[in-house]
Amino acid sequence: MRFKTLPLQLSATIFFALSGLLITVNSPATAQEIYPVAEKGGLHGAYVVPIEDFNRVDVQLIVLSGAYDDPAPSGTAHLTEHLAAFSADATILKEVRERDLNASTFNAATVYTNSGSPEELETLLRLSRAVLDTPVLPDDFAKSEIDIVARETFLRERQYPGRWLTRMALQNLYGTPRGRANNTVADLPNLNLKAAFQFHKDHYVPANVTVIVSGKIDHQLASDLVTKIFGDTDTSTPPGKPWLDHKPDPDLRHVQHIKTNRLARDTLQFAKFVDFENHQDSFDLQGAFFVATDILNTRLQNALHFQDVRFLSVDLNWYFAKNADLEMTLNVELMPGFSLGEAHRNLRTTLKLLLRDPITTEEIKRARQKEVVQAQDARRMPSSTHWFLQNLAADGYPPFSPSIYIDIINATTDQEVLDFVNKVMEPSATATVLAKKVD
């Protein structure tokens, strides 16, 4: 699931005390060793990460399938996530939760996080283990969960219109509403339990699941508990990933104009696909990916945000798939009076000239340092540490901790970074949506 999100706004933000309280239990600084669990049954992977600074423990159960793996209808992986979570709760918990369950369906993975105090580890592992059992829920409850998923989908669609624009751009890029694109809203009437239970049967198999235990734990005791709870999981066959073979026409340059009353401002959505055709696997490109995208983000940020105050906000996302396919999406909101046409021309020129000035050794050094600082910062918060741990693990790779990430960044050569940057900026398939706000 390697991806990287960079909101290209100034890092100063306005808080009005209304967005909820930040909950952080954290401390800095110690290196985080990652211990593979040897006796893990049929699981794809199991790891223990002792973090003394946090007086808590977290169990992340990562199903290596997500929204990209949706059969028709889109939203099936999401519905399955809901059903499995509530079934696990009903099976294991005898009273209401003291700490909320956090479960999310991402593009290529579904992640369940159960958190608690260190002495609760066994219960947390049992809750995680129960996610793999066929969901057992009262019929009416299971059926009506479809309505809950619909409510959630409508809610997200309204609150984050960027999701809708991104979906539109990706459908145009891949020429399909399936796989890496999706058809979530249009498919809502077709969501059904049969597809969800089949999805669970096919994808929630031990060979398609990684478990990561992190927190204030003794690694041997935690490993023994993982073995106790997951050691009996059977050998299984992981599901296929047909969407990895679905690639857009390299010559595609799709542009769509729309008018909408769903946006606060005129908005430009851009998507680009890059095929690293000489690589079958992205693992060895990890360091280059993160340093190179920092350089590209910085140059784009400079051109679109710092040099031109007509771009109100610039948001960039990178998704680097397991098979080394790269997808970049860019969302920019425009200041009043700045036309979509001019913004589009400006963006095209920016992308064309982005590498006109050669990348310097000093520039790579700065990018590397920023990545290191970001990783050090992540160690101060459990949620950021979890993000690091699940980022690569969600592609089936061993997890990175912030300290291991820093080692990899420092081991990446300048030439590897340059090669990656040059490849990303070669002409390839793109799709653009120019969205005009109307009342």
């Binding site: 009005f16 409510r151 769903r262 710092f306």
Partner: protein, 462 residues
């Protein structure tokens, strides 16, 4: 007539002060008229140090508050004599520096944090930002645009509704003049500073920084007698929301956001903690009543929730919300009523409220040691004019001492009656019944901020 005369005289005094300052600095200087009072709070526990600078911001309009925040954002990001905006941005990223701007009802806050090992250097950086800002008009205009909240009728996000309500409560709704604010601001000596570091070198450097910041040329602290403030209308900031119903009807929508909100004033911290725990029991998380009943039993909503947001020492907003299928909203609204009334009548399990107590205590502790902005707010609620001697925050003591049994017994005095809540409906479905219109009703036109109806209901209520 007397009131008009005094207002006129006060306006002349303000104008005279402005004229005195005008030749010395072209930009508007935001600064205190007295020495900065520095509070040293317990260091953070995550390897970071932080400094919050506080400028008073009383009796301002929303437009003025937005301009001040945009000005502060511009000063701290828009370039200096030696660094471009891009170079400043890069510098922050290379060193792990974060900064944020926040407001309370009476203060504008700027917080900068960085790893301990670079914090001293960060203070030098901050000094350069404050002393040598060179931002452009375009830079300010964009920041001002960022301050404009997307109308909550567009996003239908409870947080955005809260934001609009908060602005209505916090700022003077009367535009004194059509004046344009900004773009040129400078931020001089703050009235207060809150430091989260126990490094003596850092403490000395903070004092040095504060001493360098400019003050107003006329060192005059104007404190008006209470009767004059009343005559000038400065007592119009009542912390009070009207009751009644605001309805934005969108016949195309399959969803309806139901939102109940009250701006509550409490006698003391014990009552605040009691109301906070009861509100959390109603809807703050997966063990709360709204989640268990509206989502798990009725299968009616994905996001039923409550929020309790402290806004000052004795005030808070209590909000209950759920997004539901448009045609079912009256039924779900009735259920929210039942849940609230039941909790307010004291029908609460002690073990479940104990869990909420543990969760809230954990949250307070985490924020106190890791979130400098949250802590600075709590400090300012207790010490709006600065502290001397030992600093203590009674809200923490009250939380620690809270007895869930007593809270349940006093639930009806801690939580306001439901009739005192304002109901906001945004979306599709049937129009509200006559009963829901009885306390006041305002249909909100399209593309109109909530304050249109808030003002109308307040006027009708008066």
């Amino acid at each position: 007539m007397m009131r008009a005369y005094i207002q006129h005289a006060a306006a002349l005094l303000v104008a005279a002060l402005c004229l005195l300052n005008a030749p010395q600095v072209r930009a508007e200087l935001i600064a205190a008229n007295s020495e900065t009072r520095i509070a040293y709070l317990t260091p953070l526990r995550n390897g970071l140090s932080a400094l919050t600078l506080v400028w008073p911001m009383e009796d301002v309009t929303e437009k003025r508050a937005d301009a001040l925040a945009a000005g502060l954002l511009s000063v701290t990001s828009g370039g200096t004599a030696s660094r471009s905006p891009f170079e400043i941005h890069e510098y922050r990223k290379l060193n792990g520096i974060r900064q944020s701007i926040a407001t309370t009802r009476t203060h504008l806050l700027f917080t900068i944090s960085a790893p301990n090992e670079v914090f001293l250097e960060t203070l030098v950086h901050l000094e350069n930002l404050l002393m040598q800002p060179t931002y452009s008009k375009g830079w300010f205009d964009r920041n001002l645009q960022l301050m404009h909240t997307t109308p909550s009728t567009l996003t239908r996000n409870p947080g955005d509704v809260l934001h609009e309500i908060n602005s209505f409560l916090d700022y003077n709704s009367e535009e004194a003049s059509p004046a344009q604010f900004g773009p040129e601001f400078r931020f001089g000596q703050p009235s207060q500073a809150v430091l989260r570091s126990d490094d003596d070198v850092v403490k000395r450097r903070v004092s040095k920084l504060l001493a360098k910041l400019p003050r107003h040329a006329v060192n005059l602290r104007v404190t008006l007698p209470k009767w004059l403030e009343v005559m000038l209308g400065r007592d119009r900031f009542t912390y009070d929301l009207p009751s009644g119903t605001i309805h934005f009807q969108d016949p195309t929508s399959s969803e309806m956001l139901i939102l109940l909100i009250n701006a509550a004033t409490f006698d003391n911290e014990e009552h605040i903690v009691g109301a906070n725990l009861l509100a959390n029991h109603i809807g703050a998380n997966q063990s709360a009543e709204m989640f268990l009943k509206l989502r798990q039993e009725m299968r009616a909503s994905y996001d039923p929730t409550s929020q309790f947001v402290m806004t000052d020492k004795n005030t808070a907003m209590i909000m209950l919300s759920a997004t539901v299928a448009a045609d079912r909203w009256p039924q779900i609204y009735a259920s929210i009523n039942d849940i609230y009334s039941s909790v307010r009548s004291g029908d609460v399990s002690i073990p479940r409220l104990d869990k909420q107590h543990q969760t809230l205590s954990r949250s307070f502790s985490d924020d106190a040691y890791h979130n400098p902005v949250w802590t600075a707010r709590q400090y300012l609620y207790e010490y709006p004019d600065g502290a001397s001697g030992q600093i203590s925050l009674p809200i923490f003591t009250a939380l620690e001492a809270a007895s869930t049994k007593n809270i349940i017994a006093n639930a009806s005095s801690y939580l306001p009656p439901l009739d005192d809540y304002l109901l906001i409906l945004i979306g599709g479905g049937p129009t509200p019944s006559a009963d829901l219109k009885a306390n006041g009703y305002c249909p909100l036109p399209p593309n109109t901020p909530l304050k249109h109806c808030l003002q109308q209901l307040r006027t009708e209520g008066n």
